[in-house]
């Protein structure tokens, strides 16, 4: 019943307008000079105290990037990005490193509070012993700009054998694992933005779940951009060994800004035999103002490899933020009977542009995939689903089901569906359905006749439209996501 309670509270509490999370903290920053060159990459590598092989890896990616062109096939428009006009490294000034949570800057703790990080986690961040915290546990690896400053629950995780740490730390502490897996799902030269990320990534998370281990808690990272003209290049690598399970949550909010900021993350997931990875995202970067000024450019490469038999990777995303979203969380289904899932809600309002979807590459026998995509366009925005389902000759008896629904609110926006279906195995089955609709006048009237305001009615109907996706989210995210949907669509009716 709690979820319903929360839903109702959420729907009713939506009265504020504007971007609720648009504040800035005033922590002193340490910038690298603007621009990108081998020297900057060397500087990043040195600051991160990286081994030589990592530097070489970065330089190789940089060399590949120099030869690549920015892709323009997506339905997004933006002024040219000057890659030399960005800072590629920014870190909060170190005060001998936050070894214990007491040393965490109080400004930062305040920020978590504003971000809505649950009380329990704030208590933990404030120094409460994790073992005394009952109920559902959530470990937070908070990325503040480019450097992880606090990691909790380490003890509990260590006991289970789980490694959950900033990737920079993993490069130093677990070089063999990183070397073995980094770049194997998203190669350095995969695409323009992935190459850029490979060259300059400054931080992100590393997760390793050993064989047969069910991760004792949800892993959650809150990313946040907080410096003017700072590119964000997170790199996340999650490895689930045979028979292991992990659920990873990622949430984003960013402060209000006038200048566009570039975000180009790479996430790689690897699932071995019988392993399961659930990766959930609520993306709420600053979308720009009502006139389309400002906002984050979000060019993300997310891909999972189901390497083992019966392995499963499930992506769930709720995308409400960013001026531009360019993102296709994908699954490469090598393993026999492996499973890939993609559940997505993408909301665009005002002048936002989203071009998002997935790729399901079926290689293994009996592999199965499900794609459920719900796109909601309002204002002057454009929202595109772009997806690929590919059945390779070996994918005997593979299955895909795709359902893509678009909802238009107002007559100044666009909703587009661009699916690619390619099959080279006669026993593989692909089913694709797509619909486009608007909120029916009689639905709105019915709700209003029962006393709901027009905005509440829209929010209720939109949440209903997205239900098949929202129910895939872990509870605490489902609530935030519903709130975000309502906030994102404010002012879109009437």
């Amino acid at each position: 019943m709690a979820a319903v309670t929360e839903t109702l509270d959420t729907v009713q509490s939506v009265t504020q307008s504007g971007y609720k999370w648009g504040f800035e903290t005033t922590i002193e920053m340490d910038f690298a000079p603007k621009g990108l060159s081998e020297d900057i990459i060397r500087l990043i590598s040195t600051r991160k105290e990286e081994p030589e092989w990592m530097l070489e890896w970065r330089l190789k990616a940089y060399a590949a990037w120099l030869k690549m062109e920015e892709p323009h096939w997506a339905r997004v428009d933006h002024p040219p990005i000057d890659y030399q006009d960005l800072h590629y490294y920014a870190a909060p000034k170190k005060r001998a490193g936050p070894k214990s949570l007491d040393e965490v800057d109080p400004e930062l703790l305040k920020m978590y509070e504003k971000l809505g990080i649950p009380l329990k986690e704030r208590a933990i961040l404030a120094g409460v012993d994790p073992d005394t915290v009952e109920d559902r546990q959530v470990a937070v690896d908070a990325v503040f700009d480019s450097v992880s400053v606090a990691t909790t629950f380490q003890a509990t995780l260590r006991k289970a054998g789980v490694i959950f740490c900033p990737i920079s730390e993993a490069i130093r502490e677990h070089p063999d694992l990183v070397k073995q897996y980094l770049g194997t799902v998203v190669p350095t030269g995969d695409n323009f933005f992935a190459a850029l990320n490979s060259a300059v990534f400054t931080d992100g998370s590393f997760v390793y779940i050993p064989k047969g281990v069910r991760c004792p808690m949800e892993l959650s990272t809150y990313f946040r951009i907080n410096a003017r003209n700072t590119g964000q290049f997170e790199r996340t690598l999650i490895i689930a060994e045979a028979g292991s399970h992990v659920s990873y949550l990622e949430g984003c909010t960013a402060p209000q800004r006038d200048e566009n900021q570039l975000h180009a993350a790479v996430v790689e997931l690897i699932a071995m035999d019988d392993a399961q990875i659930k990766y959930s995202t609520v993306q709420n970067w600053y979308p720009g103002d009502a006139n389309g000024k400002g906002g984050i450019y979000n060019f993300v490469t997310k891909r999972g490899a189901c390497r083992g038999a019966r392995s499963k990777i499930s992506w769930t995303q709720v995308e409400t933020g960013s001026a531009i979203t360019w993102k296709y969380p994908s699954c490469v289904l090598h393993g026999e009977d492996s499973v890939g899932e993609f559940y997505s809600v993408a909301v665009t309002n005002n002048h936002q542009q989203a071009d998002t979807g997935t790729k399901m590459i079926h290689i293994g026998k009996g592999s199965r995939s499900t794609i459920i995509s719900k796109g909601i366009s309002a204002g002057h925005s454009n929202n595109t689903y772009r997806g690929l389902v590919r059945m390779l000759p070996g994918a005997a008896n593979a299955r895909n089901f795709t359902q893509c629904d678009s909802l238009l609110i107002g007559d100044q926006c666009g909703a587009h569906t661009v699916p690619y279906i390619e099959s080279r195995n006669p026993t593989a089955k692909v089913e694709h359905e797509a619909t486009t609709s608007k909120i029916a006048d009689d639905q709105l009237f019915y709700c209003r006749q029962r006393g709901l305001s027009e905005e509440d009615a829209v929010s209720l109907i939109v949440n209903g439209f997205c239900k098949d996706v929202l129910k895939e989210l872990p509870m605490e995210f489902a609530v935030e996501a519903q709130k975000l949907l309502a906030v994102s669509l404010e002012g879109s009716v009437g």
Partner: protein, 416 residues
Amino acid sequence: MSTGASGFLERFEGVLGKLPGDSALRAAAAAAFRASGLPGDSRGRRIEAWKYTSLRAVADAKFQREAAPRHEAETILAGLPLLDAPRIIFVDGAWRDDLSAIAAAGFARFAQQPDFGTLTWPDREPMVALNTMLAEDGAVLDVPADHDGGVVQLVSIAASDADFHPRHSVRLGRGARLTLVEISVGQGTYLLNTVAEIHVAEGATLTHIRLQDEAASAFHVSTTYADVEAGATYDSFTLNLGARLSRTEVHAQLTGKGGAAHLNAAQLLAGSQHADFTSVVGHTAPGCQSRQTVKNVLAGKSRGVFQGKIEVARQAQKTDGYQMNQALLLSPFAEVDSKPELEIFADDVKCSHGATVGELDAEQMFYLRSRGVPEAEARSILVRAFLAEALDAVADETIRARLEAAVEGWWERQAA
């Protein structure tokens, strides 16, 4: 002798000024073609519209400069399932008075009445640019307002190993009706690159049936532009059976309130055939309807492609668009590629598409076999049923029967 794009361009230099019509327009098309090259040719640019179809083989082929028939057009003609109706016959791209039988007025030759029309986009479509460069002949059909033009057959017979670029124009006046049956056949290794411009004025109905049964080593490219005005209907059905490589491209624009466009097709492929059916339906006026069912049956190492796009402009409220693409893979070496696309800018619309890919339904197979039907026969029954659904879109029973006969002929060829 050069091949590929440069071969065509050289030829163009040679005939410039000798061809009918506006030579400036031809020169502009040549410039566009020079820039684009042939889709899929390594020398050309990569084009999203040609993602799944490469004309590399066309680029590598050596076509004769002049038509030099190596086959008897009359013999080929005798084998055609023609209807007892007016026929306009082109052999190797040129109109043949002796073979044609035109009772109705309103026919002219492009060679005498060259009109490139206003709907085509040579700067966007490389093969339209190529046609605009080299078109020599074609049919110009005018059906006056409120007139029923009955059935007219437009036949292309290829008898030489050359390339042909027919240019057709079909105009239906207000409230006019016409059933146009377009048949293309031939023998040898040739390229047929047709462009047709179709105008369906207010309240008029054009039924456009196409049977493509080209020679096994032929290349067939056909691009149609249809402009459908208020309350008018463009109802088309394409059956692709032949050619080594075919590309059927249809652009239908619904420009008046209450217009309708039906772009149905079936493709049966075997061996190493490649057939690409690409369509763009543009809803630019409110209250229009578009319907599309495209079926692919793929045997051997064949590859079937469907690209379908429904575009709904901001002002095209109350649009009703539906698109269905189904493919049956009959062999482990066949491939299907499908891209059903929606581009919607109006909110009060009903647009949907579906796509299914797979083999025959296992339960249906089992059901038939449990009733004693041998596997091969059960398979054939179900494939025919699958195709019959597509052919149901052809309302005229006589024409549908001819198409069904052509499908039977295809099966017999596979069995042989």
